[in-house]
Subunit: 187 residues, 2 copies
């Protein structure tokens, strides 16, 4: 753990606590079983509101410091009032947050002080899919690109290694690049 060796790296990540959690969850695998939850309420039209507050893990029920709420909607281009980002943009936000938090964690573990980290994300989508124009076109992204600009005490190779390790351990990167089963039911 370079953070204690160098003593000067502070990216705001408590790596000791993360390594401690890893140790605990290695000894007691049940503690690593998490369930993330969300409650969504339709507002009107394509506008809906999702709230996140409770989850389970580390052997019990957990609660966020406060509830967090996000709105999604379609843009005015589709005759919607544009009361929030689109759901597909929200997926990009989840990916960006996951990779960027990972970069801060890995950089700290490697003794690299970050000054600024910025990411630009682009996702290509042919609407012939969701509009039902062409059944050969998928509904989702045909591809996503993420470009990082990082100002840090490290070489470009070191930064590329940090970003690669963040990808390797990113939940959202995995969710998007690999298939996940979703079961939808009506009560």
């Amino acid at each position: 753990m370079t953070i204690t060796e160098s003593g000067v790296v502070d990216n705001g990540v408590n790596v000791a606590a993360l390594l401690g959690a890893r140790e605990h969850m290695t000894e007691t695998p049940e503690l690593a079983q998490f369930q993330w939850r969300a409650q969504c309420e339709w507002v009107n039209g394509t506008h809906s509101r999702t709230t996140v507050e409770k989850f389970s893990g580390a052997g019990g029920e957990q609660t966020h410091r406060q509830p967090y709420t996000v709105d999604t909607d379609h843009p005015e281009l589709f005759a919607s009032p544009d009361n929030g980002m689109t759901p597909t943009e929200m997926v990009l936000a989840g990916l960006a947050g996951c990779l960027t938090g990972g970069i801060a964690s890995v950089a700290t573990n490697r003794g690299v002080q970050l000054r600024s980290v910025k990411a630009t994300l682009e996702g290509d989508m042919d609407l012939a899919g969701i509009l039902g124009i062409d059944s050969d076109v998928r509904n989702g992204y045909s591809g996503i690109r993420v470009r990082y600009e990082i100002d840090a005490d490290a070489t470009k190779e070191e930064l590329e290694g940090i970003v690669a390790q963040s990808q390797k351990r990113s939940a959202v990167y995995d969710i998007i690049t690999n298939p996940t089963t979703i079961v939808v039911e009506v009560a």
Copy 2:
């Protein structure tokens, strides 16, 4: 189009505009080529902020009515300050928003008046993946469940049909259930 036939269904979705867009994009496929974008900035620790404002599509550059910003962070359980929902919860929010907006659109197209639509989402995750404890455990969700409670002028079978059609045309449902390529680079 049942909306004009019935004349009384109003779920706030302009189905005529959506059908018009489909017609235009069928005639001129280039109009259906969209690019969604996001800008992420690291704040501190695992806390980052993502902003969405511009996108392209319908043959040109487009702008949201206003920029939309969301924060992601890790919970206090991981020694983080919990300044936002986790990135994995944000993916659930994107899924919920996409399916729910779709339900309103399909219901309108089928002449079904909605009174309330609520969804509860759960995603299971074994943290042995992202913590690097067990390489056989994936980083992302092992599975996601979505349960809808819908109050509407329709039978349960009709509602199940509406939800199924929303799944069939959902971008985020496709993004999560099927693999998408992500290219990450460091400038």
